[in-house]
């Protein structure tokens, strides 16, 4: 995994921990919908926070493909690469 993606993972986890109602240990392999108890709307709202942090727009169809925190970080990294 590249440094860029690692940095993104750290930022995501830091932002996520602030959002979650109960403390959860989050890693690259954590499943966003299964392990965090977030419904689909909550996931999309959290993605908005990340969009602003990274100044990218993540289209909804890309969010649908994301399973883990690692997937999300790679998606953001790719979208930033295209910018």
């Amino acid at each position: 995994m590249t440094t860029d993606v690692n940095d993104i993972v750290e930022t995501i986890i830091a932002a996520l921990v602030k959002t979650l109602p109960t403390p959860v240990t989050v890693t690259t392999e954590t499943s966003i919908t299964r392990d965090l108890g977030l419904d689909s709307l909550a996931v999309m709202d959290f993605v908005m926070v990340l969009e602003d942090k990274f100044d990218v727009s993540i289209p909804m169809e890309r969010i649908a493909e994301v399973e883990t925190i690692g997937d999300l970080a790679r998606t953001i990294s790719e979208l930033r690469g295209h910018a």
Binding site: D39, A42, M44, D45, M48, V56, S57, P59, M60
Partner: protein, 405 residues
């Protein structure tokens, strides 16, 4: 494990809600006494959650037109608009709606849901971008799922946030369509449409406004929010429904875009559905006239809305940000909302229980919709019942306000 196993959690959630009293998802009216009263479990019940804004469901002239059409044209068209389901009435209703909105073209759909689903998913193609308000109705989200276009959400009622997201993709060569609603159906809050129109102009994008809950409610002649705030020229597409102020079922889209009619052979939710029964078309033609003949209905509607909104707020309940026919009371927990809803129903007041994830910010809402046909006494009775149930449940409204906005 059957194919339905994936819904186990949903089923449990449903049973928990239904098990607390009456099942809010299967409330059944035994008889309708008027636009504002029905029989529920053998009890006369005030209807305060029907979206029947102008109270036209029992308008005698609408009923007469419907009966005539039923006798002359039969029970249904048994076909789709492009195959065998276009009658004189369908074309007439499209002409009347286009005239009402001062637009070139109109397409009528079998439901409001299909109007959004069809228009939005067909307008944007694979090289285009679709921008949605995060509180959009399910029909808009479902359109987003159907389109091959990239879909980007912006923060609810936040033109600056939309502007930021549009600027990020300023170099994208595709067409861009922004979708907002006039009045949002859960909290009754209004879009800052003037500001959205400005963002639209500055970025050179298309703007679609869903006036489902604002048609017949807002605007000098009832055309909706775009008319109310004077930005109709900036709105490229207006979508609306017949199932609220017009008191029936169906949906439509009006536009001035040249060649808009090509949508009739491109839009699948339009092409592959049976068209509306002639009797429904006939009642809508008449209720659209009634909407225009009697501006007093809108005056009465807004007076009723203000009375209910102020009454509930003065009791200490947290209501939405704008005075509108949709007045939603936010309660701090799902359990309290369910209990409160059940008690109101037992007292003879029907309204809508709206729970997460169908609500903004995961709020638990008692959602009411006011009608021009409500009497002042009915509105006051509703307010009194809210006060009574709050007392009985030991709820002090002023103390249960949540931080939700």
């Amino acid at each position: 494990m059957t194919i339905l196993a994936k819904y186990t959690k949903l089923r449990e959630h449903y049973h928990r809600i239904a098990g607390a009293g009456r099942d809010p998802f299967t409330v059944k009216f035994d008889a309708m006494l008027s636009p504002t009263e029905g029989m529920l479990n053998g009890r006369r019940t005030i209807l305060l959650g029907t979206n029947n804004y102008l109270g036209l469901t029992f308008d005698q002239s609408c009923i007469d037109k419907g009966v005539d059409a039923l006798k002359s044209f039969g029970t249904g068209t048994t076909g789709s608009r492009i195959a065998n389901g276009s009658y004189d009435g369908h074309a007439a209703l499209e002409r009347e709606l286009a005239t009402f909105y001062g637009r070139e073209s109109c397409m009528v759909f079998t439901t409001g849901y299909q109007a959004n689903l069809g228009i939005i998913s067909t307008l944007v193609g694979k090289d285009d971008l679709l921008f949605l308000d995060s509180d959009s109705h399910a029909s808009i989200y479902d359109a987003a799922k159907m389109t091959p276009a990239q879909v980007i959400r912006f923060r609810h009622n936040d033109p600056e946030d939309l502007n930021k997201r549009l600027r990020r993709v300023a170099d994208h060569p595709g067409n861009k369509l922004v979708v907002v609603e006039g009045i949002y159906s859960m909290l009754g809050d209004v879009a800052p449409l003037k500001e959205f129109a400005q963002v639209k102009r500055e970025n050179g994008v298309y703007l679609l406004v869903d006036e489902a809950h604002s048609m017949g409610v807002l605007g000098e002649t009832g055309r909706g929010l775009a008319q109310e705030v004077g930005v109709e020229d900036d709105v490229d597409f207006i979508v609306g429904t017949f199932s609220k102020s017009l008191g029936a079922v169906g949906g439509f889209c009006v536009s001035d875009l040249p060649d808009f009619d090509v949508m009739r052979v491109a839009c699948r939710p339009y092409m592959f559905t049976a068209s509306l029964p002639p009797s429904v078309i006939a009642t809508c033609l008449r209720s659209l006239e009634r909407l225009q003949e009697e501006p007093g209905l809108r005056t009465k509607l807004m007076a009723n809305s203000k009375r209910l909104y102020d009454g509930l707020r003065n009791l200490g309940f947290q209501v939405g940000p704008d005075v509108n026919p949709i007045v939603a009371v936010s309660l701090p927990s799902i359990e309290l909302a369910i209990t409160f809803w059940n008690r109101l129903l037992e007292e003879g007041l029907y309204l809508n229980l709206a729970l997460p994830p169908a609500t903004p910010n995961s709020q638990s809402l008692l959602r009411t919709s006011v009608s021009a046909a409500h009497t002042t006494k009915q509105i006051d009775t509703a307010i009194d019942l809210f006060a009574k149930v709050a007392r009985q449940l030991g709820v002090q409204p002023a103390l249960v306000q949540t931080a939700a906005e």
